[in-house]
Amino acid sequence: MYKYDSYDQAMVDARVAEFRDQTRRRLEGHLTEDQFRPLRLMNGLYLQLHAYMLRVAVPYGTLSSAQMRMLGDIADKYDRGYGHFTTRQNIQYNWIKLEDAPDILADLATVEMHAIQTSGNCIRNISSDQYAGAVADEIVDPRPYAELLRQWSSFHPEFLALPRKFKIAVIASETDRAAMRLHDIGIKLVRNAAGELGAAFYVGGGMGRTPMIAPLIREFVPLDQLITYSEACLRVYNRHGRRDNKYKARIKILVHELGKEEYTRQVEAEFAHLLNQDIEPPLAELARIKAQFVDPPFAAGLPDAVDRSDPDFALWVDRNTLAHKAPGYAVAVVSLKPVGGIPGDATADQIRLMADLAREYSFDELRVTHAQNIVFPHVRKADLHALWSKLEAAGLGTPNLDQIGDIIACPGLDYCSLANARSIPVAQKISERFAANGKQDAIGELKLKISGCINACGHHHAGHIGILGVDRKGTENYQLLLGGSEGADCSLGTITGPGFSEDGVVDAIEKATDLYLEQRQDGERFLDTFRRIGMAPFKDKIYG
């Protein structure tokens, strides 16, 4: 894992001091709320329906035990004893007092954490593959490149007042586990024909009210030009992105309106210019960062066999663990989606327990996934039963990874000031329905995602099944989408037709999955069947 040096620590400490000063000026009345809002947003502090919400950055989703423990302690000390893991691999606290926020940032800084640029019209926390460094299909661990970009993007003076927020994801495998092409910039590490490592740049993806899949604008950027190319992409956007309408201000609209070719031409011109400006860190800096992401000391000669005599444990192993690149190890995923629970929520005690278990069983490391779950990336197979037993005892053993109950949901109208409809109760009803009807297992992989408004924080466009909550003449109404995917086979879902009530959408989903069970052929997932037979039969089944 990356460790701060004295420079990194000094920057985070300076940020805490700056925000303490800004908060003081606000509380003393020297700053108006209008002037303060953008400043607090740059530090992840939102004013929501009932209280302030603080969003803490988890760069590329990686946490140490000490960091995880601090997240639990903050939940107890400053919130109501729980936190909410988000689709940006971050954590949010929903019941924060403004006057406490500087102290929370100071506590975070003691474990090399912060809330820098987790909101606002700036470059946000950089996300990555939650299994980075643990699975065999990556060509390289993507996180050092994300860290390089994290430092470049932190307090970048030119890009703190962009037309709109800006999200970057970095991956390094064919299997896209980070929804890379649904980001403002998606970076995929690749090898060129000569075998050299570099980066493919996809620019102009996003969800929100106008979902778009990012086009590839450059197949290969050499590693010693990564920052320069990123800066060129951002400068063109900062200069020309639309500022007349916040709903058309994301880079996807610029790329779409200019056309991929013209946007690329402008980026290449700016890039050629910037190559002479000496803004690129030397490769030695990348090497310094990479050295901190070396594999933990995996033991050799460990057994691969797992004792499956406990059927509940065997089920969890089948559903919630993945193959690890090292023999005798597994990747274990904690589902934060218990039946009837709030997706992504964990109590302070659960968070601290996961911190302890990571220290004991996973080389001190955890990951947050964009699907709002927690990963133990490096667990000895021989330890899986002990890990599971302790998770299960704490209500963290739900065996439903990537199943219909493993729902992504935004906080919705229960918390969010932007929402039009509640997301959490819909998620709860769906997970309860499919737990009760016993169909979850038969259905297998099905990614269901719920957003409580058109901003799409719940990634509904990219769900195999997506739900969008809207306000229809003062009543919550739910539109249903089918056929989205965030993976390498990225696609956007299509609306089935007229929307539903809260209970109606749960019924409609059951009908859709029933049709899938009738129609599927040899090993097809729900998504595969939908793509093969199309929308018409689903419409007939749902509305017929």
Partner: protein, 143 residues
């Protein structure tokens, strides 16, 4: 017209009024120009020889186009005065300075102590922006 409140230059301030980019093109003796957010700073590059003052207007501080305009001019070799005018607030002073601004004429006078603290806030910087400050990566690999 707001007064210059902070200036990090030793030369004499330019007395000429800043003209618009359009007027600048017609007035071959003008030495001061004012850029609005939508103006293309690169259009001034052929005329840097005669330019002594560029004002960059921030009608609202959330419109950050002026930051790119400033860097574009500095990267092209402009060494004259680069003045941020308009909605210039305490918390933007430092990032403006980092992008090449060396004078500041806020539309509302800023608290001098708060401004001094803001200019001195960051012990180091992560990026090379041509403002003369070495990036942290340069300090790390200085030997």
């Amino acid at each position: 017209m707001a007064d210059v409140q902070f200036r990090f230059r030793d030369d004499e301030p330019v007395a000429d009024p800043a003209v618009t980019v359009d007027a600048f093109g017609d007035q071959t003796n003008a030495s001061a120009v004012r850029l609005e957010p939508g103006d293309d700073a690169a259009a001034l590059i052929p005329h840097l020889e005669r330019l002594r003052l560029v004002e960059v207007n921030f009608p609202v501080w959330t419109d950050g186009r002026g930051y790119s305009a400033a860097r574009t001019l500095r990267e092209a070799g402009y060494t004259g005065e680069l003045r941020a005018v308009g909605d210039v607030l305490i918390d933007q002073l430092n990032q403006m300075r980092r992008c090449g601004f060396d004078s500041f004429a806020p539309s509302h006078e800023l608290d001098a102590d708060d401004a001094a603290a803001a200019f001195a806030r960051w012990p180091h910087v992560y990026q090379a922006t041509g403002d003369g400050r070495p990036a942290i990566w340069a300090l790390r690999h200085a030997q």
